[in-house]
């Protein structure tokens, strides 16, 4: 799975449907952490926080042997381990009631409609080797104060299917595909801010 491509594809798709800027939750300059906008402040209009909230393998992985007669002797057989994967994309829309024309629910509805009119979206997803499966949740937790402003929040969670593939190394070792590649290893995690709201 090409996570950088998948991330870019999903981000571009969400932005093209809604017209709002989208940020990955752990992106250093994103407001996904609530107060992490730093000196730049959050966008004037609404924005979107993207997050992968679940990922898992489906069924059994398989080992496949492919023969390519055009390759040099000794290199004509390639070994691949392949398996089906699923992940869930959370698209959280945050709108400012004072400056936005539409409320957050309007934007999540646009995304839902887009998945049910799949011709365009399917092609976009297929280019990243993923396929939309179904809507897992579509909720509106309400209005919360963030960055000193009232923010109207809605979220839609979309399940995607993907295929993972690992090509054999020269030693014949086949890597386990039990765990997904971590999504955010390339990005430094911004300072964690808990506030003091407690948890449980």
């Amino acid at each position: 799975m090409d996570w950088p491509l998948i991330r870019t594809t999903l981000e571009t798709w969400v932005e093209s449907i809604t017209g709002l800027p989208a940020y990955w939750r752990r992106q250093p300059d994103a407001g996904g952490w609530g107060s992490a906008w730093g000196t730049t402040g959050s966008p004037d209009r609404g924005y979107i926080i993207l997050d992968i909230i679940g990922r898992r393998g489906v069924g059994l992985d398989s080992i496949e042997y492919e023969h390519d007669a055009t390759q040099a002797a000794g290199s004509e057989i390639r070994i691949y381990q392949r398996g089906q994967r699923q992940f869930t994309l959370a698209v959280q829309v945050r709108c400012f009631s004072a400056t936005d024309d539409a409320d957050s629910k309007t934007y999540t509805s646009l995304l839902r409609d887009s998945t049910s009119l799949p011709t365009r979206s399917e092609a976009v997803f297929a280019a990243a080797d993923i396929a939309f499966a179904r809507v897992m949740a579509d909720v509106s937790p309400g209005i919360y104060e963030l960055d000193g402003r009232d923010v109207d929040i809605s979220e839609i969670q979309l399940r995607f299917n993907a295929t993972a593939e690992v090509e054999d190394t020269a030693t014949g070792y086949v890597e386990s595909l039990t765990d997904f590649e971590l999504l955010d290893t390339d990005n430094p995690v911004p300072p964690i801010w808990e506030g003091d709201i407690g948890f449980s």
Binding site: I53, G54, A90, M136, L146, W193, D196, G198, F199
Partner: protein, 163 residues
């Protein structure tokens, strides 16, 4: 003129249909009764000014804090198991061993309890505590569970409705 006769014998299908007809709906999560309660906080458990539902939403959706989805992520990661439990209960209902309502109640109770256990174990992918919060409540241990009073966890319940 030839005559024909059709005899319908019920081998139990009517009973099964009667047992399973109609739909039940099961909700699992923070319901309005417990969700509207004042949230305990601080070192003495005094009310924070927030309700349980306020705090639940902040963690579930990562509003102002790192996201720690304790209901959605549980369902997402355990979907296959949930369907297995549902299948077991449905079989018992179809065999008239329990009523639909009792089956739905058993399923809801099972899911709610498993959700609480899962939350207690500290799900994978959750961010460690901030140093400030860990210092204040867990002796500086950033890997400690985010459970202080157990109020949010114990507020996960189920509700059965006839659809």
């Amino acid at each position: 003129m030839a005559r024909s006769r059709v005899t319908e014998r019920d081998h139990g299908a009517a009973k099964v249909v009667k047992a399973v007809e109609g739909q039940m709906s099961v909700k699992v999560g923070i319901m309005s009764d417990k969700g509207s309660a004042p949230k305990k906080g601080g070192t003495a458990g005094a009310p924070t000014g927030n309700t349980v539902l306020d705090v639940a939403n902040q963690h579930e959706f990562g509003i102002g804090v790192p996201r720690r989805s304790f209901v959605g992520q549980f369902n997402d990661e355990n979907e296959a198991e949930l369907f297995k439990w549902l299948e077991l209960v449905s079989k018992q209902v179809a065999e008239s061993k329990i009523t639909k309502r009792a089956g739905a109640g058993q399923f809801g109770s099972k899911v709610a309890n498993e959700n609480k256990d899962w939350m207690s174990r500290g799900p994978a992918g959750w961010q460690p505590l901030s140093q400030a919060y860990a210092d204040k409540h867990h002796g500086g241990d950033r890997t400690a569970r985010l459970i202080l009073w157990g109020q949010l966890r114990s507020s996960i319940t189920h509700q059965v409705e006839e659809a």
